[in-house]
Amino acid sequence: AYKLWVPNTDFDDDANWSQNRTPCAGATVEFPANKMVSVLVRGGHSVSDLLLPLDGELILDSGAAFSASVATWDPDCSVGGPALFRDPDRFSWYDPRLWRSQETTRGLFSVDAERVPCRHDDVVFPATASFRVGLGRGARTVRSVSVLGRTFLRDDDLAAFLASRAGRLRFHGPGVLRVVPEACADPSGCVCDNDEVLPWVCAALLQPLDGRCPPAACSNAFRPEGQCCDLCGAIVSLTHGAAFDLEKYRERLLGTFLLQYQGLQVAVSKVRRASRVWEAAGPGPDTEIQVVLAEGRPLAGGAPRLVQDILADIAEHGETLGVVSATVRELSSPVGGGF
């Protein structure tokens, strides 16, 4: 599986400027002095003054040009002062909103911890855009890292790149990034291994909300493994056997059931069983399959029926599917709902 880095530090992206628009004709443009950054410039820009960072670069794409405005400038341009390039250090590796994976198919979602790169993920930074990533604290290990068209599979190569000027322009912070080129070879799935960093993931995710989760719209809201805030819907835990195939099961849920349930989303992943404090200690596999059924807003209330469909399916085809047993962990009901 891969994770693609989304935000950029492009000159031509409105989101990178203090007034949420690229500098207008004749603008005074200012980059923060002490923030290293690589900025891709695609278009033509007329500027009267360009204050560059002390360490950084403007990469000029084929259509890029800076011209000094002579007689023409937008009369509205001086309103609100200079166009300030927003702090390029604001993007954190741990922010789930900043990554995209192939699992963006409608009806499927990932728990927050699994929206940032997992242990066996291939991490891709598109070179069609400039970018900057805060690595935060701690050490992260992924399967591979692709930057500027190069794919790093060896730890030494990646370390050398990160220490180079090109690397330092794009990655910052005390955190360590490593690659161990092992794909997930287990058809039943691999644990994402982001438990330790969940506090950082949630801090980044909830930063715009002052760190507080929005209230859930149901009673008996619950929090799945790897999720930052409570959800409404259900969790079904599966004990998997040797024949279990995570991808196939995900497709089965999507294709067979999910289309019938508007407003329901499903996340299927392998999680560590031991981390559930209320789990009865005993022999058995140390991992299980977490199936999260999340109700959208407004609540459609389809989760209980889908849980029944899933249980019935497993009762009938469990052996073929490689599911040994299924347990309903959580089932929420709407606030004042008529169930």
């Binding site: 004709a25 033509g44 007329s46 000029l60 794409d61 084929s62 259509g63 890029a64 040009a65 800076f66 011209s67 000094a68 405005s69 002579v70 007689a71 023409t72 937008d74």
Partner: protein, 95 residues
């Protein structure tokens, strides 16, 4: 609606008058209009460098070369020629 003529004027100006930093097939090109300059002003202790060469040093060397050439043109006679001619004169006097 006001954007129309403004953009029009802008367009014309960028074609003709505005100094520009542009790219052409990966070349980095600095262009100026008919009477506009491109000026490089490093700080008082800063240099203008072409790869590893200090351009100010090069420009000083041009001036030094020019001064040297003026001196050479003045016809300052090479010393050994002068001395030989003096010797010749002396010999002639001694005859």
């Amino acid at each position: 609606e006001t954007g129309g003529p403004e953009l029009q004027r802008h367009k014309r100006n960028t074609d003709v008058q505005q100094p520009r930093i542009a790219t052409e097939s990966g070349n980095l090109v600095f262009l100026t209009g008919s009477a506009q300059n491109i000026e490089f002003r490093p700080g008082s202790l800063g240099k203008i460098k072409l790869n590893d060469e200090d351009l100010s040093e090069c420009l000083h060397q041009i001036q030094r070369n020019k001064d040297d050439i003026i001196d050479l043109k003045k016809g300052t006679v090479p010393q050994n020629i002068s001395s030989q001619i003096l010797q010749l004169n002396a010999k002639l006097v001694d005859l």
